[in-house]
Structures are given as structure tokens and as C-alpha cells.
Amino acid sequence: MTPPATFDQPDTSILSIRGLHVRLSRDGRPSTVLDGIDFDLDAGEVVALVGESGSGKSTIGLALQGLLPAEAQPEISGSIRLAGREIVGAKPHDLRAIRRSLVRAVPQDPMGALNPTMSIGKQLREGGLSADEVVEWLARTGLPAPQRIAAEMPHRLSGGQRQRVLIAMSMAARPRVLIADEPTTALDVTVQAQILTLLKDLAREHNTAILFITHDLAVAAELADRVMVLYGGRVAEVGNTTTLIGAPLHPYSAGLLSARFDLDSDRSRQLGTLSSEQRRARPNGAHCNYVTRCPLAGTDCAERRPDLVRQPDGRQVACFHADRVPDLLAQSREAPAWPEAAAGDANALELYRITKSFGSGGGLFQRPRQTQVLAGIDLRIQQGECVALVGESGSGKSTLLRIAAGLLPPDEGDVSWFGGVQPQVVFQDAVAALTPWLTVDEQIRDRLRPLGLSRAEQNSRIAAALELVGVDPALRNALPSELSGGQCQRITVARAVIVPPRLLLCDEPISAMDVSLAAQTLNLLGSLRRSLGMAMLFVTHDLAAARLIADRIAVLEKGHLVEIGEPDQVISAPQAPYTKTLVGAVPRLAS
């Protein structure tokens, strides 16, 4: 552990990070997660920490609390000064005191973050609150009937309510710094906006600085004074929110921005994506972390590491070619248009009065409780058409997809496919949808066996399918565990379309992806369905994705189809009150 470097901490800053390096081991192999972070946070300031999964953004949050997971055998060096107290190398006793009063965290998943066997009130009192203060703080987070909530056990509350409890728990300690690690990703869109507003208001009231960890630039734009973009454990770019989002200077920030889509994106063409999963091999020795994916990378990027350089407008960027980024952005706005679609008039899928209920409980003497999940759904998808099915969790959209796929029988109603051929499905968790011990080649080849093709014909079909989904044919003999999540999703798509189905069903295929990967997957699915003339049912909770990919949007609320129509019509003039709520809750960059 190196001794903390001497540096002058600006008077206004509550938190100063200097030269922070963190190495964590996974399965016994150590890897550098944070690679020299320098950063200051002012009192009461809101800073968004933006980056994709694996960028090290959550590790910064944990390091600030001295809570790096012990099983990962963390090696940490550098300095973290919080309100004048050094955290790196602090004794456990001092760290506990710091956690009690100086730094608190609101976690990503409110469902797991509360002790299931302790009442809400007791968990809040553990932090040093009196019973009256508990009720007062619960009320301040906008929870109805705080007295009753305090007496409840966590499992009786909804996700949004639990997140409010956790915010109350953190803010009641009046910390100087609050770490909010993707606090809304596990919540429904309608709740997300309320939670963000609550966080911002409370922080302003108590002059608490917030480090807001997110992968979504639009969320960052709504909330933060400054944005810090993190890539591969290093700061790519830091700056004032409006400047950075208006004109990013690092190719990675530009990539995040161009790949991001919302309700105002151009849906007549594909999304602009600037980075690929892997463009070139990682060089040995010092190099820019982003060199493997960067569209601007030159030889200098593979030989030297760019430092953070202060720009005339005050922001800092770590890129040798920052001057070329604006051109790159302009170029990305001219993304290719969608290919011509081949449509027919026959129905690829016809759902007629689908009803489904699930029973729960029940026993020898008690009738099970029936919960109706789908109540008489009628839906037709024409050949070559894409219908997006949107709704919150629990609205029944995944159940409807499974019925349409023939994986689940409906209680009542009929499902019919064009030509009676069962459709193909692309699932949300691509890694789980692949058999772990079969190679890419074997997984795809299984679909060709019934066709009676020769071995050579099969090989050329597989090569063509991999080419179609943009996977390097060299990966044919790889196992799923050797591939990235994005590559796995491409393989599942290749497997589905190698024998082009009349109908492709997609169950939240992008919900677990970061922006650039999501954009690439949307481009892929949107192009494929047009060029192959497939009909598609695209289930998602993301209205912006639905609008981009689909010809029609169907809105599902508690098992009822409340609205169906052209995407722009549904979004600009929603008819059902539920649709209005959904549309209003989507964060927009422009606003």
C-alpha cells in the first residue's frame, strides 16, 4: 500500500480521490478494476458516474465505504479522503464510524437489501433513530401510513416502497456523501422518476453530495451537475452535464450518446453505434484502455496511455484524438436506413381470446387462490410485421409470449401460427438460453438436422448465419462461457434465424444490456426481420425500444390490452390513462 500522496484538497470538496487503484480477484485470478482514478466531489454536488458493466463504477462506490468484498481479496492503493478522513487503510473501527455518519449507500436492488426477518422500523432504529424519527423519516420519503410501514416486514412492501425505506435509512444518518448505485434499474418506469426526484430533493435539503452510479446518460442528465464517464477502470471524461452531453469529447462518451435512444430518436433508420464489441486485439504495454473498441484509434493509442487533460471549457478528457470526436458524432447521425421489408397479408400469429390464470396456495381443505394474468387477449400479427408488447412487471406480457410460443397452454382461447409452424424464441438471458457444454457450431447445427442437408451445406449455412448476426466465424468452436453476453445473444439470434421462421418471439432481449449493446441488438433484430421477412412479437418494458423496433405497439395492463396502434400515435397521443403514465415516465435527453 503506497502512502497517500500529498495533495491540496480544494476547500469546497467533501471527497477527494487520488490515484486510486483497486485489484480484485475472481476465481483466484486478480484483475485491475480501478486503474488510477482522480476525482473531487463538492459538498451538495450531484455527480453521475456513467459507464457500462465492468467499467468499475460500482467498485468506486464500495471502496468509498470501505466495503470491497473480502472474498475478492482486494488490493487497494491511493487515497480516498472523505471530510478530511482517510479511508484507504483505515482501521475497521474507524471505517464503521465513517459509515455510520459520513457516507451511506442506496443499493441497486431494493428487494434483497432489507433483512427479511426484521421489521422496517427495527432496521431503521438500528441506525440510531428513535421510534418517532423513524416514522418522521418514512413520511418524508412520501410513504403513505408511515406508522404502519414501520411495523411491517419487508416482504409486504413493493419494490418502490422498499427503495423509499432504504433512502430514508441512508438519509436519516445525514451523510455528507450518498452513493446511489443504479437505485432505479430494478423498479418499474413509473416509479423510477419519483425515486429520482425524491433523492435529489432530500440531498439538496441536507447539502448531501450524491455520487449517482448509472449506465444511462439520460438519467444522468436529469439529475447531475457533473458527469464522469468511466471506461475500463479509468476516467474517460469528466465535465459539466450540459457541455458533456451536448458535445462529448471522448469517443466512448460519444458512442454512449449516439447509441442511446429515447422517444425522440429517428425511427426511419438504424441507431448510430460507434463502438463494436471487439475491433482489434489488446496491445501489450501501456495503451489507451479503449483502444480495442475505438473507431478513432491510431498507433499512438496502442503505445501510450492518454492522461486526463483539462480543456478550455473546464472539462477533462483522456483522449489523443478528442478534436476528431465531433466529426465522428456527425457521422453517426447518418446511420444506415432499414432494409426494405417484405410484407404479406396473411396472419403470422393469431391470438384469439386468450385467458390464463395461475393458482397459488390451497391445500387439502382450502381452494387455491386464482389470479387472472390474461383476460381475453385478441392479437393478430401480419406477415413481416413487428408488434411490441409493453407493460410493467406483472402485466402478463411474458405469459402472453410463452402462450404465443406454444410453451404454455392458455386456459381458454386459440393460438394459431401461419402454416402451423411453431415460432422461434429469443430469451432475455442469452447465456442461460445456450447449453453450456455445446459449442456455438453444435448449438446452431441442431436446428439444421431435420432438413437433411449434406455436411458441407450445413457448414455453409452456419457460416452464413454467423455472418448475418455479425459474429466472427472463428468463434464457431467456442463454448458459451468463452463468449461475451452480447455475443451469446447474437448466437441465440443466429440459432433462431438459420432456418428463417415465419415468426420470431423476443422476450426482453435487451433489458440486461448496456446502451451500446442494446442499440446493436435492436439494429440486428430490426434488419433481420425486414430482410428475412419475419413477423416479430417483441416483449419489452422499454417504450423507447418498442417505438424503434415495432410497426405497432400493444400496451398491456394487468392482463388487459388497453391500447394498440402505430408507435408515434401511441406515444404522442396516448388514449389509455395507463399509456399516458408509461409515456410520461420515460427519461428524455432533450428535456
Partner: protein, 330 residues
């Protein structure tokens, strides 16, 4: 809660009725003649016929079953052929000794389970503990009993190897001698009873300690990785408090279920342990009944243990729902 108890007790009655039917069928099928057994080998046929009438053995089977169930409902488990006493009276006489042994074994087993699980969860190198548990767990119970008796009684003489007390003919209000000694103001008797309990209770506790300990350890390892443990750390609580207040209670459910299962399996081990340590309880009583084909006694004790098992399961379920409010009793 009331509805749950009502349901479970109803279930208890149902199980007892089914068991009684099986027991009755066994008695009817097995070609042993209780009348002849009672009368003795040299009795004249008239005496046997008379006993037959007294016992109702000349009645049709269904009527015999009716009588059997009526007797059961009155707490009459039949008459032991060996002791010539009502089985119910024998159960009351020998039951307390077994109950005392079971309680001691459960308390000892649970404490050992805690120690083992704690050592395994917190120690950096827990391989030795794990290996020791594996070795001890692979021993059959009679070997454990014999080894403990050989070393701790025969070689070292630390603990007695048989009986419940050094004093003969002691009787107390409850029949649990440790408790009786305390109630009667005779701590010397309580201590002496405890001293005698040591070896048989330790033997019986080994399988409990190992299975419950292993289950508690794996539950703890899982629970300590949960996000709410990080939340607790984030509040600045101390490690000990987090382990006790947030870890242990959430890990309780699986080991409790294991404890219930082990107590249910205790009956088989009880026969062996009471026999080896000459412990005058229901286990020894059953072994002796086997030797003299005393069917009413064997089946009566089996019914008592069946009921005991159901009550223990119920207790475990109640404890589980106390530990974890998400488990609803129904």
C-alpha cells in the same frame, strides 16, 4: 395460529388412526397367539379359550378393530405379554427416562452444532473441522457408543457407563431425575443424574450435531453473502451484531428442519444407545419386548413415538415461522 394448531392436531389424530389400523392388521396377521402366550405353554385348552373370550379374540375382525380403537381412545394401548402390565402404564414408567435423554441429547447436539458451524464459517482454514465432521458422521451409532464408553468410562473412568443414578429406588415427581433433584432441593442427585446422562446423551448428540451443524454452516455461508448483510455493514454496525441479528436468524430455517428430522430418527438410535448404556427407558423396553415377541408393547411404543414425531415437526414449523415471518403457518 389457532387454525394451524387445530389443523395439525387434526392431522395428528388422522395419522394415529392410520397407524392404529396398520398396528391392528399386524397383530391380526402375525401367527402368534396372544392367548396362548398369556396362558403359558402348558395351559389346558379351556383356559386358552377363556382368555380368548376375555380378550375378545373370538369376535369378528372388524368388531375386534372397533374394540381396539375404543381402547386406544381411552389411552389403553393393550397389555404387555412380558411385564403383564398395561402398555400405557409401562410407557409412563419408562418414558421419562427416555424423555430426559432425548432432551439432553437435543440440547447438547444443538450446542455442538452451533460451535461446529461457527468454527467452519469463521475460521480461515476450516478443512480440519470439515474432515473431523465427516469422520464422526461416518461412524455408525453403536461404534460411537462403544468408543465413548471404552475411553471415557472404561479407560479414564470420567463418566459412568450404565444406569441413571448411583442411588437405587429413587423416585421423583416428574421422573426426569435432573429436574427432580432440583425440585426436591437435592443438587447432589441432579448432578449425579447429569453425570450419568453424559455418555448416552453425547452418543445420541453426535449425528444431530453433525447434520444440524453442516446445514447451519451452509445456510450461514449463503446468508452472509446476501445484499442485506452489505446494507447492515453500510450502517456501520459491528461484525458481531451483524452475525447475530442479521445472519443467524435468517439462516435458522434449514437447520431447524434438519433438527426436526433428526429427532424423528432418534427412536432407532435410542434402542441401541439405551441398550448399550443400560438406560432404563423406552428404547431398552422395546429391545426387551423384541426378545420376547411382545407385540402389544412394541406397537404401543411405536404409536407413542409416532405421536412424538408429529409433535416435534409441529414445534419445528412453529419455530421456523417465528424465525422467518415470511413462512406462514397453514
Amino acid at each position: 395460529m389457532a387454525a394451524y394448531l387445530f389443523k395439525r392436531l387434526g392431522g395428528l389424530v388422522l395419522v394415529l388412526v392410520v397407524m392404529s389400523f396398520i398396528v391392528f392388521c399386524l397383530q391380526a396377521i402375525i401367527p402368534a397367539d396372544p392367548a396362548r402366550a398369556l396362558a403359558g405353554p402348558s395351559a389346558p385348552p379351556e383356559t386358552i379359550a377363556q382368555i380368548r373370550t376375555e380378550l375378545g379374540l373370538d369376535q369378528p375382525l372388524l368388531a375386534q378393530y372397533g374394540t381396539f380403537v375404543r381402547h386406544l381412545a381411552e389411552g389403553n394401548l393393550g397389555t404387555s405379554i412380558r411385564t403383564r402390565q398395561p402398555v400405557a402404564a409401562d410407557v409412563l414408567k419408562y418414558g421419562p427416562a427416555s424423555l430426559e435423554l432425548i432432551i439432553a441429547a437435543m440440547l447438547l447436539g444443538t450446542s455442538l452444532a452451533f460451535i461446529l458451524a461457527f468454527a467452519q464459517t469463521t475460521m480461515r482454514r476450516s478443512g480440519a473441522v470439515r474432515l473431523g465432521m465427516l469422520a464422526a458422521g461416518s461412524f455408525p451409532i453403536f461404534l460411537t457408543a462403544l468408543l465413548l464408553a471404552y475411553f471415557l468410562w472404561f479407560k479414564l473412568g470420567w463418566f459412568p457407563g450404565s444406569g441413571r443414578l448411583d442411588i437405587r429406588r429413587f423416585t421423583g415427581p416428574t421422573g426426569l431425575f435432573v429436574l427432580d433433584g432440583l425440585l426436591l432441593g437435592r443438587p447432589d442427585i441432579a448432578l449425579n443424574a447429569l453425570w450419568h446422562l453424559a455418555l448416552p446423551a453425547l452418543t445420541l448428540s453426535v449425528p444431530i450435531a453433525i447434520s444440524v451443524g453442516r446445514s447451519l454452516n451452509s445456510a450461514l455461508v449463503d446468508v452472509l453473502r446476501q445484499p442485506y448483510i452489505r446494507t447492515a455493514h453500510g450502517k456501520g454496525l459491528s461484525g458481531g451484531r451483524i452475525f447475530l441479528r442479521h445472519g443467524l436468524r435468517n439462516a435458522a430455517s434449514a437447520p431447524l428442519a434438519m433438527l426436526g428430522l433428526q429427532v424423528g430418527l432418534l427412536y432407532g438410535n435410542l434402542l441401541i444407545v439405551e441398550r448399550i448404556f443400560s438406560w432404563p427407558g423406552l428404547g431398552l423396553y422395546t429391545v426387551q419386548s423384541f426378545a420376547s415377541s411382545d407385540l402389544p408393547a412394541i406397537l404401543g411404543v411405536a404409536m407413542v413415538f409416532g405421536a412424538f414425531y408429529i409433535l416435534m415437526t409441529m414445534l419445528v414449523e412453529i419455530l421456523q415461522s417465528v424465525a422467518d415471518p415470511r413462512i406462514a403457518l397453514r
